[in-house]
């Protein structure tokens, strides 16, 4: 495959994933802001920080409100990570690699772009926000459905998967890092309604507020939440799950191309940490330190794969 096509597939999938995560972040923020106990300014601030766009946000806005944040994260095209920008970038990459995509997958991306262009053309009325967020999630789900349902499992699929899961791991780790302090054993007291809301918000931003209860007890517990999002390899947005998938795709590439690179060792090292580690160890050594290290490693892995498979 052309290096440029591998690059296009990788970034197309990263941006589709980003668009979806952005919508979930805003959704979680919206939910939390509706609760009286929370300060909505704090919540919207942490949404922007989780999205990794605090600096550019402050260039344009002075206040963190539902309106400014939703506008910046969803429709502002000067923000390269906004849903509109992400879908546009995904589509441009998709256009570039269209010969590598099934017709269904391409049409799903193209339709998502058309629908987002319509939906996000005018400033968002706060009352429409739930409907818009829903539509964004629906469009990205449709792309993913078409992709998994029709794409041949070959190198095209593998580079796409790698893009999806590098991005997702980054998102989950950043969501956790922004909120890590609410997960730490509190010196004052545990289990206030505010904490509960905060915890639920974390789970909601990774679409795990219901599945949490299927795995753990009904009560939210910080260690369980962290365990779910970091180490549970059956939870589709956990770091362990992402790395299992990246390792699997890299494994297929090694078999198909008949050779391994440094990135195969890198991914195995991280995966081993996630496999054998316990959440207690992570808390003991420092959740924040763990996450910062992980985010750095994850970025380096992405760059290493791009270099070794010649699509940098």
């Amino acid at each position: 495959m052309l290096g440029r096509n591998a690059n296009g597939l990788y970034w197309m999938n990263r941006y589709i994933e980003r668009a979806e995560n952005m919508a979930r972040l805003v959704d979680a923020g919206l939910r939390l802001a509706l609760t009286r106990t929370a300060s909505s300014t704090d919540e919207w601030t942490s949404v922007v920080v989780s999205a990794g766009v605090e600096f550019s946000f402050l260039q344009k806005h002075t206040e963190f409100t539902a309106n400014t944040v939703a506008d910046f994260l969803l429709r502002d095209t000067s923000n390269a990570s906004s849903v509109m920008s992400a879908i546009e970038t995904a589509r441009n990459n998709g256009r570039m690699v269209r010969t590598a995509l099934t017709r269904e997958t391409w049409e799903a991306i193209n339709e998502a772009w058309m629908s987002m262009t319509r939906l996000l053309k005018a400033p968002i009325d706060e009352r429409d926000l739930p409907r818009i967020l829903d539509q964004i999630k629906r469009e990205t789900a449709f792309i993913r459905g078409s992709f998994y349902g029709t794409m041949l499992r070959n190198e095209i699929f593998d580079f796409s998967q790698i893009g999806t899961f590098i991005e997702r791991a980054d998102n989950t780790a950043r969501i956790l890092d922004v909120k890590y302090y609410v997960l730490l054993p509190s010196v004052s007291w545990v289990g206030s309604s505010l904490d509960n809301y905060q915890w639920e918000s974390i789970l909601r931003s990774v679409a795990a507020h219901r599945s949490y209860r299927w795995v753990y007890e009904a009560e939210y517990k910080p260690t369980n939440i962290a365990d779910f999002l970091i180490l549970n390899s059956r939870m589709p947005r956990s770091l362990a799950f992402c790395y299992r998938n990246i390792a699997e795709s890299l494994g297929y590439l090694a078999t198909e191309y008949g050779g391994r690179f440094g990135c195969h060792d890198t991914v195995e090292t991280t995966l081993a940490k996630l496999r054998v580690g316990s959440i207690k160890d992570i808390f003991d050594r420092g959740l924040h330190e763990f996450l910062v290290e992980f985010i750095g490693d994850n970025n380096r892995l992405g760059a290493q794969i791009a270099e070794e498979y010649r699509f940098n």
Binding site: M1, L2, R4, A6, N92, R95, R98, T99, R310
Partner: protein
């Protein structure tokens, strides 16, 4: 000026090629047809069959309007057309070979030397270069207009990188989706195998040094090019890589593409990048669309470039007026398909005539394309004509003029039924060790009532083109 209508000339009965279609049409509910028109647009938009219009502000991607009434040619009409086209294509390739080697036609005085020497489309870099299999122009789109039952003329030979073939294919695909039963009722010859034919044709002109199955690639300027959809479409349908200049470089004397497993050599490059951008070391040094050094590889016979660099000299508008002489010179026969009478404004007598008859003529820039920079005398305002006359007087050599032809019409679906609109036809020709013409082509239609400009950049639309299996 009364135009020949291909379905109902002079408002009389329906012509034979349209009889089967009309039978079907009479049974259709008009409301349903209008609905189908909307369906067609949705199909095109969804699949992303769009084109970019340069200089268009708002919409970077537009649809070429599609009309659901087919343009129909009988098998007999088609056979005559193909004979004329084949003859022309043979002459074009012979002319190119001659002009880059012995230049017999110049020595014989059939074409003035200055038309070649002073022409930007003539590439001195190609002098003495013989392309693989001796083919210069591999893919040609011959623009044909009709003015009567038996009057067909060639308007233009597109011998560089003709576009539009994806519309021919998608139009047929769309028609078959919208009206499956119609194709049972009327037997239409298929066009769907064009991509396979193109691939075989390109494989047949592989460089001599390539012994096995050649690796073929399509070279595109990238996603912002107006015809990007077509480049991707053809690469996809042929099952070959779609490459950009940045993917390619010279490795061990071959052109190679950067893949996830290292550099892989390419044998045949179907390029959709203009000559000037092909090789920054040979042509425009600022071009990022081409491949530095590709001309050296080409001259060494290690790659086939389709179409060959320098083919533009054969479809230049100044050369066009000499095509009857060119055909006779190389084939020894009169042209089967005629040219449109053309006044070369570089010649004083012609210039005088054109200046005096500006209101009746179509005046074109010699190097222009896409319907830009031309004057349609009869429909232009007095002011437009005056402005144009000044340009003409300043640089007469830049212009040619032709009579305003009564292009044939074909009905399109409008509110309230069918209405005639002017059309032209671009069949696609493939040249390798043989010449192949897919039965059909792209019919372009001027959607404005009375308009003669069919270019998509100027508001033209397209139709599915049928050649009957009779």
């Amino acid at each position: 000026m009364v135009a020949f209508d291909e379905m109902r000339p002079d408002g009389s009965g329906v012509r034979k090629p349209y009889a089967g279609y009309e039978q079907w049409l009479l049974k259709q509910d008009p409301a349903r047809l209008t609905e189908k028109m909307g369906d067609a647009e949705r199909v095109f938009r969804k699949t992303g069959i769009t084109f970019a219009v340069y200089g268009h502000e708002d919409a970077s991607e537009k649809l070429i309007p599609f009309d659901i009434v087919p343009r129909i040619l009988s098998g007999q009409e088609w056979r005559r057309l193909t004979q004329g086209i084949e003859q022309r294509v043979v002459a074009l390739n012979a002319f190119l070979d001659d002009i880059y080697h012995r230049q017999e036609i110049l020595k014989a005085g059939r074409i003035p030397k200055h038309l070649i020497a002073g022409n930007e489309a003539f590439l001195p870099e190609m002098i003495g270069v013989r392309p693989p299999a001796g083919v210069y122009t591999h893919i040609i789109g011959v623009d044909i207009v009709r003015t009567g039952e038996n009057e067909f003329f060639v308007l233009e030979d597109n011998a560089r990188t003709p576009s539009g073939v994806s519309y021919m294919l998608e139009n047929r695909e769309t028609m078959m989706q919208l009206f499956p039963e119609l194709f049972q009722h009327v037997k239409v010859r298929p066009v769907e195998n064009y991509p396979q034919l193109l691939r075989q044709s390109l494989a047949n002109v592989k460089p001599e040094s390539c012994k096995g199955t050649p690796t073929i690639a399509v070279l595109t300027p990238g996603i912002f090019n107006s015809a990007y959809f077509e480049h991707a479409f053809l690469a996809d349908q042929m099952g070959v890589e779609l490459v950009e200049g940045s993917d390619l470089r010279v490795v061990d004397g071959h052109i190679a593409m950067r893949t996830t497993q290292g550099y892989k050599p390419i044998d045949v490059l179907y390029r959709r990048v203009d000559d000037a951008y092909l090789d920054p070391l040979t042509f425009r040094p600022d071009s990022a669309l081409g491949v530095p050094g590709i001309m050296d590889v080409y001259r060494a016979g290690k790659i086939t470039i389709a179409n060959a660099p320098g083919t533009g000299i054969a479809d230049d508008k100044a050369i066009y007026s000499y095509m009857p002489e060119i055909i006779e010179f190389y084939t020894g026969r009169k042209a089967i398909l005629g040219n449109i009478p053309t006044w070369r404004c570089s010649e004083p007598d012609s210039l005088k005539y054109v200046q005096e008859h500006l209101a009746e003529l179509v005046v074109k820039e010699v190097h222009g394309s896409g319907g830009y920079g031309m004057l349609v005398g009869p429909t232009a305002s007095k002011k437009e004509r005056e402005t144009f006359a000044a340009k003409l007087a300043a640089k007469p050599g830049n212009y040619i003029a032709q009579p305003t032809l009564a292009l044939s019409t074909c009905p399109i679906l409008v509110e309230g039924g069918l209405a005639p609109r002017h059309v032209d036809l671009r069949p696609y020709v493939l040249v390798s060790d043989k010449i192949q013409i897919v039965p059909g082509g792209l019919t372009r239609v001027a959607l404005q009532e009375g308009s003669l400009v069919v270019n998509s950049s100027q508001g033209g639309g397209t139709k599915d083109t049928w050649v009957l299996d009779d």
